[in-house]
Assembly symmetry: C2
């Protein structure tokens, strides 16, 4: 019997035959995630039902030196959940369900395999809000959100996933179960170990449960779209809104190229604002329409805003958001090479300029569009590969963009993580000493290196 | 020459004679902190001026196995900065100053020895707010605040120190300098290493610089004091305010015993509300007086509030706050044994009840008072040792309180940390597996155990 067969026999004995699948029994969605990177059928798929089974599986794999890839909803954009043929995949999908909503504490305790959308709905039913929100809400799992420290639409106001997690239960590589299921806002009793696992992309432990922080439900909101003269005005307007009206629920900046594209894809032909302004800011605010108008009048007077439209109805607000949501059409209408970078907020404008100049110099006629959640220091830029020489020089484009990011002290991954796809670019944002310490941490918690090998810095 | 003398010689060669003090040259404030715990003159005091000197000092001490205690402003309340006679103290006081305020990014880069008050002032001068605030602001250093993950007055709205730190520079035990000086809100490039050092009480590295997150300046605020029928009403009122007016700037709950004491110490004899209500909530809100009145009317109608007073002027608001600030008088007027615990928000009322009953059963006639930042899950309780048999059975009282905390899944330290004083109680809040992992982390980053030995779990 092969080494692998022996391992599978032990796993079947511990988890039951139905929880250990191989070959054609494995649904292809476990082969690769949204990146469609290096599809390979894993050596086996484990479907544990509870923490004890996860623990048993890890203990066995650790003893036998068998590598293991944790899998959530497989919606990751960095290839972190993609297995190699020799890996065993461990899916959390059967470890799902909401265990408790504590309305006094405003917390929810959930199993890691619970889908984000279900958590959002349960919070709303309890009269509260779980503010994490992203396009993959219907498929991604809270365990995957935590393992990638996902960002999404509400970061400017509520923070990253890290800021929404109060406690965790984690199974370590050797099968030890670490109970960090804290419910308190304040708890200074030694190292805050949960922080190690948030954003660690499945390389330090398997998350099995979490205590989430819920927020009061959001009230009504106003939506506005403003045309701006330059990038400095975009920052000034944001700071003005924060001072006058409180931090907006969202603040999305679109460069002219993006705005034109978004408008051209609208069903109506009428653009809400002319298309020849340098920049456009779209935001939601909890302020009343009058307070918003007041704040915008000040911004006009100071030259921060050239033109603006405030949505008069929910339908109009949705229409304005449609322009920003053109990104949802990218996979269908472009051949997009997407970047998810971050930079100190004041430098994003210069970065976009520098990046565009270098792309234009290297590949004249290329098409790139820029938009960002600048309040979070996050810029997304998309290059349409159809506008590049064929076959598209993807690695070269990436190297050009990430080099510019590194020069300006930015991050090669704002929210999607490193996974498989950005390993070779990590050095642009992480110092050699920091990389060393990451390896030390990995060695301390997973000395045999069984958890998600080949990812992150490995 | 003794081992110690050899070490000191190396240190003098690296840092200069003026930065290595011994014996009577050491100001006694470096002997012990506010806890007045086990005063001992350290074997030497180092006063490095920059990161390179900190690095040199640690490298030498690590090579020679010499233990080292990082010292900030010496205001800690858990004994974390207290040296033993064989330790060398390393004070950050000369490594101070503000390096940059980036108003676009809303960040400030500071050296670790900078006093909190100076940071608050510099932020205000730049039209921004650094929201961390606590009674020791004039003496404590930002490095100490970060090393203890300090809480303070504004946690309910702005979070703990952890939530205000974007980046760090840390010198590791072996002298390696770890540059984690990130300025971005979003940055998912591998493990978020800075989290390991925040709240680690000087046991994993010496913090030398930090990038802090600044907030928009706060607007005007209204202050109100409400009498409440029971603890459930206190939670309901808080949630109502959050829903209706946004999260208050502060929400302080006082039990009847505390309120009476606070009122009795006022210079005026007039209590703002009668003294026979079970509980009193004091809060600041950014809402207008009308909006506040509106929200309180709803609370009256629903029986959450029995009586209330809204401050009509700043002077009146200050007068209301004086009652809460009776805690500042505790050291002078009581013989206080202070607790800083946290519990799931819904259980704080029951905990206070349980704790009081057990104290009364064990020591009839003892005097204890209760007050808390319940929105942060934080309860402070103070036992007046003069009301206990003499000599006061301090350890027994602590064991009683912390046992009750453990039973209700609370934390023995909400914000002050473990240091020396709470080591033996840590097990009430931290599982054996978590303790094991903390030790693994310590071993990985400080294998020779030179950083702050004898503290936390050591
Ligand atoms: C349409 C779309 C929109 C998106 N929008 C955003 C966005 O706005 N912001 C953003 O940040 N991201 C976004 N993403 C990417 C985002 O990271 C993922 O959607 C999500 O957070 C990953 O969850 P998942 O359950 O699918 O994890 P997977 O893709 O299955 O796994 C992701 C990583 O986490 C690890 N992992 C998963 N579960 C666990 C666990 N229980 N324990 C330990 N490790 C685990 C895996 O090993 C892998 O490394 C988007 C993706 C899509 C497809
Ligand atoms: C009047 C008063 C009011 C207070 N109010 C509050 C409050 O409301 N909330 C609250 O949370 N705390 C409060 N505290 C306690 C609080 O923890 C400290 O005041 C402060 O955070 C510690 O800062 P410090 O510079 O004095 O640190 P120190 O007391 O010098 O040190 C504290 C710990 O941090 C370590 N340390 C210090 N500097 C560094 C560094 N640069 N690198 C690594 N480790 C370091 C030390 O080794 C020690 O373990 C109060 C204290 C006082 C005296």
């Amino acid at each position: 019997m092969s080494e692998l067969e022996q391992t599978l026999q032990l796993l079947r004995a511990a988890l039951g035959d139905a929880a250990v699948l191989t070959g054609a029994a494995i649904n292809p969605r476990h082969h690769s995630d949204w990146t469609r990177h290096a599809p390979a059928c894993p050596a086996a798929l484990l479907l544990p039902r509870d923490t004890a089974q996860v623990s048993a599986a890890l203990r066995i794999c650790n003893e036998r030196g068998q590598s293991l890839v944790p899998q959530g909803g497989m919606t990751g954009l960095a290839g972190g959940a993609v297995p190699r043929a020799q890996d065993i995949a461990l899916s959390l999908e059967r470890l799902d369900g909401i265990e408790e909503i504590d309305t006094a504490a405003a917390t929810m305790t959930v199993r890691a395999g619970t889908r984000l959308e279900r958590i959002q709905q349960a919070a709303a039913e309890a009269g509260l809000l779980f503010p994490l929100d992203l396009g993959a809400r219907g498929s991604c799992q809270i365990g995957g959100n935590i393992a990638t420290n996902a960002g999404g639409n509400a970061v400017i106001r509520y923070g990253m996933t890290r800021d929404l997690v109060l406690g965790l239960e984690v199974v370590l590589a050797d099968g030890r179960v670490l109970n960090l299921l804290n419910k308190m806002i304040k708890n200074n009793t030694g190292y805050d170990l949960k922080q190690c696992f948030i954003g660690s992309e499945g390389t330090l432990g398997v998350i099995t449960r979490a205590v989430l922080k819920l927020a009061p439900p959001p009230g009504a909101q106003s939506t506005a779209l403003c045309a701006l003269p330059d990038y400095a005005a975009a920052v000034a307007l944001l700071r003005r809104l924060q001072r006058r009206l409180g931090t907006p629920q969202a603040y999305e900046l679109m460069w002219q190229d993006f705005y034109r594209l978004g408008v051209s894809w609208l069903e109506t032909t009428q653009a809400p604002l002319a298309e020849d302004y340098p920049l456009y800011a779209l935001f939601d605010s909890a302020a009343t329409a009058e307070a918003l108008q007041d704040a915008l009048q000040g911004a006009f007077d100071d030259g921060e805003v050239i033109d603006a439209v405030i949505a008069g109805s929910q339908a109009q607000a949705r229409q304005l958001w449609k322009i920003r949501e053109a990104t949802g059409e990218f996979p269908n209408r472009l051949q997009p090479l997407n970047f998810d970078v971050s930079l100190p907020i004041g430098r994003i404008g210069d970065f976009a300029e520098r990046c565009r100049q270098r792309l234009d110099a290297r590949w004249p006629g290329n098409r790139s569009v820029y938009f960002g959640h600048i309040g979070d220091s996050n810029l997304h830029l998309t290059v349409d590969c159809r506008s590049l020489p064929q076959p598209a020089p993807i690695l070269e484009v990436e190297e050009l963009v990430y080099t510019a990011v590194g020069e300006m002290a930015g991050s090669v991954s704002a929210e999607h993580g490193i996974g498989l796809l950005k390993r070779e670019f990590l050095h642009h944002s992480v110092s050699p000493e920091a990389l060393q310490v990451m390896r030390q941490l990995k060695l301390a918690l997973d000395p045999r290196g069984i958890l998600n090998p080949g990812k992150l810095f490995d």
